[in-house]
Each structure stands twice: as structure tokens, then as C-alpha cells.
């Protein structure tokens, strides 16, 4: 019955008539909220099933129930026709459910090979761990799926995309009957994505049921057999992919049509140079990067994973040290190279890693929003809380930040609203240049268009927006000019109308 990716020679007997996993009437409440209400989901062996929905639709809750992270309040879960009681990740793993979460679930200090076998170490005589077997098996597994990485490497030293692949490989190392992948491509390069799709198809061919969770419509159309859409914790539709179009899927997901994801309201960019970067190099990554960004312009930076976009973002705002080069904002040099000088000159970073670099999760919304501009609300060092809260309330209204009050702990907000709080932080401060790094990471379709509209508005108000992104549509939809990076170097800068997917990718490959 079991499927072992390590030993593909063995024939696998799968009874295709019985669903691999069947969830019926699943309900889950959190205090005061119904996260899932009577949701059904059936995964057939050998089929690739896509699960779609906006953030907050209940996808991750459903997956977490499957993985045993959360308990369910109502409903049943059956595996191969037999009801199962999943109370912990351990139970779920025992049932052959392998979940690849969006956030990297690897021990950074362990070797890649050890991480592959985290869920069950092969042991030799007397119960000692058989390290030789671990390495050999990991190497064999990587070879089989065409994944080229040193099994002995320290996991934390690998780029995120490779870590993601390690995690996917881990799901294959043990007997799996159901493999769940939550946004697996969010940090993969195009090559890796196609590698991943090959692997997924092979899993299906082996009789494994695959649940593929994604926002990306094109991916879903490419790989899925069936699509289930959730909205507001309820089941909306389950249909074969053939019955869907882009529009019908989006409509199912958000309950309305989005006319245009990238509404452009701003005028043409000005000619004033707001940010100039000359010969920037860092010890880690960047080599001799030079460019200018103009007021009112969105300058998009594209690059594959590891091209150095985030490094560039952090270096130009003064967060990471540089070894050589000069950065000027409105003609003033960023000296000393520190964030406090940067912010004073009017350049700030909207980080890609909201949780560890942006939000103060325990603190209320208003304190998060006003962090960069507290000085403006200070009288003799005392915070004028009334005007502070008034100002924040203003942004909450303008940006339609959905929060019950200004005193809500920011960690309880949805990703999109958190992002809006962080954008407010910079707008309250008043910047000339804003560097946005992957602005829509972890944000659903509906909220995405709002973020895009905000970015458009920022540029319209005369800011220079430097946008780092790995999403081609975002790049083409928003940017006035497009810069492409490869391995720490700037390989091309082109106006939007000269850019095509093809020449951008060519420059990104270098």
C-alpha cells in the first residue's frame, strides 16, 4: 500500500476507488470567530487537487487540521475509507499525511540530510542513528528528483529556494499517501518550479493524493486536476479545472469581479533624481550596483532567488553595511551609513519579512503605525497621544485598514492589513524614497490590488518607489522602469514599454 519515493522500482497498489482523504463537515471556531464552517474536501489517490481562496478564507486552518496542528470542532476525517482521529502532528504523520508548509520548517543548524530524516531517523545496531544511510538515502533521493544540493550542507546556509526544495524532498522520504503543499512556489526560481511540477506529477502517478494550495492562477491551471475554493470559512465550489476560467476562479474566490488588478492613476514620472546609487558593493553579495530613481517613479527590480534584491534593499536604506559605493537621497549622501541617517534623508524600507523586521506583534496598531514618526507627535519629549491616535485613525480610514480598534495587537491583523499598517508607518513619517521588498508576499488577491493601488498612489504623490519583486505580473503591471539583477550585479535597466517577459528573464539569468 505504501508509497516510498526512495524505492520507486516497487510497484504500488493503490485502490483508486476509495478516496485517500475525505473531510466531511469540518468546523473550527476560534474564540469569537468561525474559521471553518461545514467544509468538505475529498482527495482522490493519484490526483492533484488545488485549494484556493483568499487569506482568511480558511485554507491554512484546514491544512493545519489535516496536519494535526489544530484540533477540529466538528466533522470527520477519513483516510482510505476509515475514520481517523488526528490529534497531533504525530498522528497525522503516522497516517501518511505530509504537509509542506509555506514557512520553512527545517532546523537551520542541521545538515540537509538530517532534516530529510527528521521525522524518523534510520537506526542501526543498538538504536544508534545510521548516519551513513541517512546521507546515502538523501543523496539518492535528491538524484532521483533531480535536485542538486549537497546533503551534508548546513541547511541554514542554503538560499530560501533550496530550503523549500529540501522541505519538499522531505515529504517524499517517508511513506506518504497524501502530500499537501502550501504555496510551495512562493520562493522558487522558474527552473525549480518546473522541477517541482515534474515531481508533483510523478507523485500523482505513484498514486499519491496531492493537495496543492496556491494563489497563483496560472500554476493551478497548469497542474491541478480539480479545484476547491473556500471563502470566509465556507466551501464555495469544487470543480474540475476544465470548467474554470481565470474569471470564474477569481469570482469564486472573492465573490466579485476584479476589473483591473493594476489600476494606474498616476501621471508620468518626473525627471528629478530622488535616489542615486553609485558603485554599491557589500561583503556578502552586491557588486558595483549603480542606478537612479526619479521622483514619482516606480522602479521595479527583478531577479531570481539569490540575485541580491533583498540585500540591495537593505543596503540602500543603511541597514546592512556596505564596502564601497555611495548612496544619495535628493543629492544628500547617506552618511554615516545607518538607518537613522537614511530615514532623516527620507528613505525607508518596507520589509519583505514583516514578522521579524516590521511588526511589533505584541504592541497595538497605533504604536506600530507611529513608530517612525513619534518625534512629530512629541512635545518636550512627551507623546501627544491624542494627536498621534488621530493621525493613525486617519490612515486607518484612508487605507481601509480593517481593525476593531487602534488598540488591537497588530499580530491579530490579516497580512494585508498588517502591510497597510507598515505602509502607514512610512507615510506618517513622510519619505522621498520608499523601498518596497516583495510587497504582496503572503497577501491575498483582493488585498493585493489594494496594495498595488497604494503603491501607485505613493508614486503619484511624488515619491520614488523602488520595488523589489519576484512576481513578473507585478513588475510589468506597476513599474515605470525595470531593473534586473543577477548574482549581485545589475544586468539591465529598461523602460516598461521595452520590457518583455523574455528579455527580463534573459537578463535575470545573466
Amino acid at each position: 500500500m505504501s508509497v516510498d519515493f526512495l524505492h520507486p522500482g516497487e510497484t504500488v497498489a493503490v485502490d483508486k476507488s476509495v478516496p485517500a482523504l475525505e473531510m466531511r463537515g469540518i468546523g473550527k471556531r476560534f474564540p469569537g470567530v468561525v474559521a471553518l464552517d461545514n467544509v468538505d474536501l475529498t482527495l482522490e489517490p493519484g490526483k492533484i487537487h488545488a485549494l484556493m481562496g483568499e487569506n482568511g478564507a480558511g485554507k491554512s486552518t484546514l491544512i493545519k487540521i489535516m496536519a494535526g496542528v489544530y484540533g477540529k470542532d466538528a466533522g470527520t476525517i477519513s483516510l482510505r475509507g476509515r475514520e481517523a482521529d488526528i490529534k497531533s502532528p504525530r498522528d497525522s504523520l503516522k497516517e501518511g499525511i505530509k504537509v509542506v508548509f509555506q514557512e520553512i520548517a527545517l532546523i537551520a543548524e542541521f545538515s540537509v540530510a538530517e532534516n530529510i530524516f527528521l521525522e524518523g531517523y534510520p537506526t542501526g545496531k543498538g538504536g544508534s542513528i545510521d548516519w551513513k544511510k541517512i546521507r546515502a538515502d538523501a543523496a539518492a533521493l535528491f538524484k532521483r528528483i533531480g535536485f542538486n544540493v549537497d546533503p551534508a550542507a548546513r541547511t541554514g546556509s542554503l538560499p530560501v529556494s533550496q530550503q523549500q526544495m529540501v522541505e519538499i524532498a522531505r515529504a517524499l522520504a517517508h511513506e506518504a499517501r497524501v502530500v499537501v503543499m502550501d504555496e510551495p512556489t512562493s520562493s522558487l526560481t522558474p527552473n525549480e518550479v518546473s522541477l517541482l511540477f515534474t515531481v508533483i506529477r510523478r507523485l500523482a502517478a505513484l498514486g499519491i493524493a496531492v493537495l496543492y494550495v496556491s494563489h497563483k492562477l496560472d500554476e493551478v491551471f497548469e497542474i491541478a486536476d480539480t479545484v476547491t475554493v473556500l471563502r470566509d470559512g465556507r466551501h464555495v465550489s469544487t470543480r474540475p479545472i476544465g470548467q474554470h476560467t481565470n474569471d470564474t476562479l477569481i469570482q469564486d474566490m472573492i465573490g466579485r469581479r476584479i476589473e483591473n488588478l493594476f489600476p494606474r492613476k498616476r501621471g508620468a514620472p518626473g525627471s528629478k533624481v530622488a535616489l542615486s546609487v553609485e558603485g554599491l558593493s557589500t561583503a556578502k553579495k552586491l557588486k558595483d550596483v549603480s542606478f537612479e530613481a526619479h521622483a514619482g517613479e516606480v522602479l521595479g527590480f527583478f531577479g531570481l532567488m539569490g540575485a541580491g534584491r533583498t540585500e540591495l534593499a537593505k543596503a540602500i536604506v543603511g541597514y546592512d553595511p556596505i564596502t564601497s559605493g555611495a548612496i544619495s537621497v535628493d543629492g544628500c549622501r547617506l552618511l554615516p551609513h545607518e538607518t537613522h541617517t537614511g530615514v532623516r534623508l527620507g528613505i525607508g524600507l518596507l520589509t519583505e519579512d514583516r514578522k521579524s523586521e516590521g511588526l511589533m506583534g505584541e504592541l497595538p496598531v497605533y504604536q506600530n503605525a507611529s513608530l517612525a514618526s513619534l518625534g512629530a507627535f512629541a512635545r518636550m519629549g512627551f507623546v501627544d497621544k491624542v494627536s498621534e491616535r488621530k493621525a493613525v485613525q486617519d490612515y486607518v480610514d484612508r487605507f481601509r485598514i480593517r481593525t476593531p480598534s487602534l488598540f488591537q495587537q497588530v499580530k491579530n491583523l490579516s497580512g494585508g492589513n498588517q502591510q497597510k499598517v507598515l505602509i502607514s508607518r512610512w507615510l506618517m513619517r513622510g519619505l522621498k524614497v520608499i523601498v518596497v521588498d516583495e510587497p504582496t508576499r503572503g497577501i491575498d488577491v483582493g488585498a493585493k490590488s489594494e496594495i498595488f493601488a497604494l503603491i501607485d498612489r505613493l508614486a503619484g504623490e511624488g515619491l520614488a518607489v523602488v520595488m523589489m519583486t519576484s512576481e513578473m505580473p507585478e513588475l510589468l503591471g506597476l513599474a515605470d522602469r525595470i531593473a534586473v539583477m543577477c548574482e549581485g550585479r545589475l544586468t539591465a535597466i529598461m523602460p516598461r514599454d521595452e520590457a518583455t517577459q523574455e528579455n527580463i528573464l534573459n537578463a535575470a539569468i545573466g
Binding site: L349, T351, L359, G361, P364, L371, L374, N412
Partner: protein
């Protein structure tokens, strides 16, 4: 759905009234009240003026240092060297007083030394990136050794300055001077934390240092500031202690750091930073000192002065966790 998810939360607690009575403070307040009632039923002298003043004076020293320590722990750092520094400060202050016969110079020397210790700790932690627990254990050892290199015997009071004696034993109206000083420092620190940008930044740096740095605030300076303030508080406390003992005692301050940290933690300040309040610290200090005092007043075995605070710290933290869970679930 987003909205409904959010309305259930603890939002109202963040209002000022709620803040005052929020969370662990309530638990502590009840513990304190029960303690006071129980002790005074068993021993009515507990409520005598003399005893209340004695308790307050004992609280004063701890509260002074705990005020700084609360700020420091809110920034997610800790200082274990305060006990050793307390002894050293007293010796240095007394030595300078003896040679200059000037209270001002003595105080300045004490503050300068204690501030320098704080600065050193802060620099080691922020520049050299040494975990503050380890760094300040190191400083503690250096100070313990250093004080004996400085003086092998208690530094006696040769200057006979009346103003110096007043520092520890004097009164302002009916209130002992150390209590007045502690109240001032407490009020200053509480106001800083509650109402000023500086206070807000201290919480912010404890909650997420990187975010603070990215927002253009010098997070390292904030931590440095908290270390120096803690040091300065030790300076004040050290001088009051040496005045109370009429000598600079190199053996003083043993275990003082644990009392201070225990009081701060008991007051609900999180060791992980970003959360806590001085009101809680005040209650924490009072609870610990009332226990200490009560055990003597009741004539119980003084060894209970270690056992009872141990139980109270664990119990109070546990009750806080239980209460939080009840709020969430």
C-alpha cells in the same frame, strides 16, 4: 470575518484605566492585600507607624534599582551586576567623601562610577553582542573582585557630614528620605515609560529591535540608555545604603540582583522584552518586602524568607498564564 475575528480581542485593556488594573497587577494586588490582612490579624504591630516606615525604607532601595531594571528588561536585556556594583559604589562614594568632605562630589563620584558600570555593560552587550546574562555575570565577578582590590576593609565614615547621614536616615515630614527619593525615581521612570517618546521606543526595541532600527531609531543607543539608567539607579541606591550603614561595605549587596529581578518579574514584566510596567514592579517590590517583614514580625523562622518568595514568584507567574489563557479561550 476579519472583523469578527478581531472584535473578540483584548482591545479595551489597553485603555488607561484598563492598563492600571490590567493583567498581573490585579493578581499581585490581591496577593498583597491578602498578605497584609493575614499578617496584621496575626500580629497587629504590622500596622504600626514604625513598621510601615521600616517596610517602606526597605522597599526604597530595591525600588530605586528596580525602576531602572524594569526599563532594561523591557528592552529585553538584564543586568546581574547590580548587587556587586551596589557594594562598590558605596565604597567609592565613601572614599571620595572622606577625601573631599563634599557630599556633592561624593554623590557625583558614586553616580559616575555606577553609570560607567552601566555603560560598560551596555557597550559589551550592544557592541560586542554578548548575551546580557553572561556579560553581566562577567561584570559581577569583576566588580566583586575589584571592590576588594579597591578596599580590603569597610570604608569608614571619617568625614562626619551631617548631610550624608540625612541621606539614609533623614525624613521629609513623616516620610523617610530614601522613600522620597525612591518615589521620585519611580515617578520619573513611570512617566518616562508611559508618556514619553523615549518610553515608547524602549517598549518598541524590546518588542522588535530590527523593526525599530529599520524605522530610523538607534536601537543600540536605547539599550545603552537603559543600561546606564540602571547603573545610575544603583549609584543612588548605593549611596543611600552606605549612608544607612554609615560605611562603604564591600560585602554589601549579596543576592541583591536576584531580589531586584525577582520583583520586576513578579510585577509582570516579560523577560522577552516589550511588555511590563513600573506599577507592576512597585507591587512586586511591596509583595516581596511585606513577606520579608511579615516573617520577622510573626517571629517565624527566617529561612522562610527564601522559601516563600520562591513560591510566590512561580505562583504569580502561573496565575498570570492561567488568566491569559482564560482570556483567550
Amino acid at each position: 470575518m476579519d472583523m469578527s475575528e478581531l472584535t473578540q480581542s483584548s482591545a479595551p485593556r489597553r485603555f488607561i484605566g484598563g492598563q492600571l488594573l490590567g493583567s498581573s497587577q490585579l493578581v499581585l494586588g490581591v496577593i498583597l492585600a491578602v498578605l497584609c490582612m493575614a499578617i496584621s490579624i496575626a500580629a497587629p504591630q504590622f500596622y504600626s507607624e514604625a513598621n510601615i516606615i521600616a517596610i517602606l525604607r526597605q522597599c526604597a532601595l530595591v525600588l530605586i534599582v528596580a525602576s531602572g531594571m524594569t526599563m532594561l528588561i523591557i528592552t529585553a536585556e538584564v543586568d546581574l551586576s547590580v548587587g556587586a556594583s551596589l557594594a562598590f559604589v558605596g565604597c567609592i562614594g565613601m572614599a571620595v567623601l572622606n577625601s573631599t568632605h563634599s557630599l556633592t562630589l561624593g554623590l557625583l563620584a558614586a553616580l559616575a562610577f555606577a553609570g560607567a558600570v552601566g555603560l560598560f555593560n551596555g557597550l559589551v552587550v550592544t557592541r560586542l553582542k554578548v548575551n546580557s546574562l553572561i556579560a553581566t555575570i562577567g561584570t559581577m565577578m569583576m566588580l566583586q573582585g575589584g571592590v576588594y582590590l579597591f578596599t580590603r576593609e569597610a570604608v569608614q565614615n571619617h568625614h562626619r557630614l551631617a548631610s550624608f547621614t540625612v541621606l539614609g536616615a533623614g525624613y521629609l515630614g513623616a516620610i523617610p528620605l530614601p522613600v522620597v527619593v525612591a518615589a521620585l525615581i519611580f515617578a520619573l521612570a513611570a512617566a518616562t515609560l508611559r508618556f514619553t517618546t523615549l518610553g515608547r521606543y524602549l517598549y518598541a526595541v524590546g518588542a522588535n529591535e530590527r523593526a525599530v532600527r529599520l524605522s530610523g531609531v538607534r536601537s543600540q543607543r536605547l539599550k545603552l540608555f537603559a543600561f546606564v539608567v540602571t547603573g545610575l539607579c544603583v549609584g543612588v541606591a548605593g549611596m543611600i545604603l552606605s549612608s544607612l550603614m554609615n560605611a562603604g561595605q564591600p560585602t554589601a549587596g549579596r543576592g541583591f540582583e536576584l531580589t531586584v529581578i525577582a520583583a520586576v518579574i513578579l510585577g509582570g514584566t516579560s523577560l522577552l522584552g516589550g511588555r511590563g510596567s513600573l506599577l507592576g514592579t512597585l507591587l512586586g517590590v511591596l509583595v516581596l518586602k511585606v513577606i520579608d517583614n511579615g516573617i520577622i514580625i510573626l517571629g517565624w523562622n527566617q529561612d522562610l524568607q527564601m522559601v516563600v518568595p520562591g513560591i510566590v514568584i512561580i505562583l504569580a507567574t502561573y496565575l498570570d498564564i492561567v488568566r491569559n489563557r482564560a482570556n483567550v479561550g
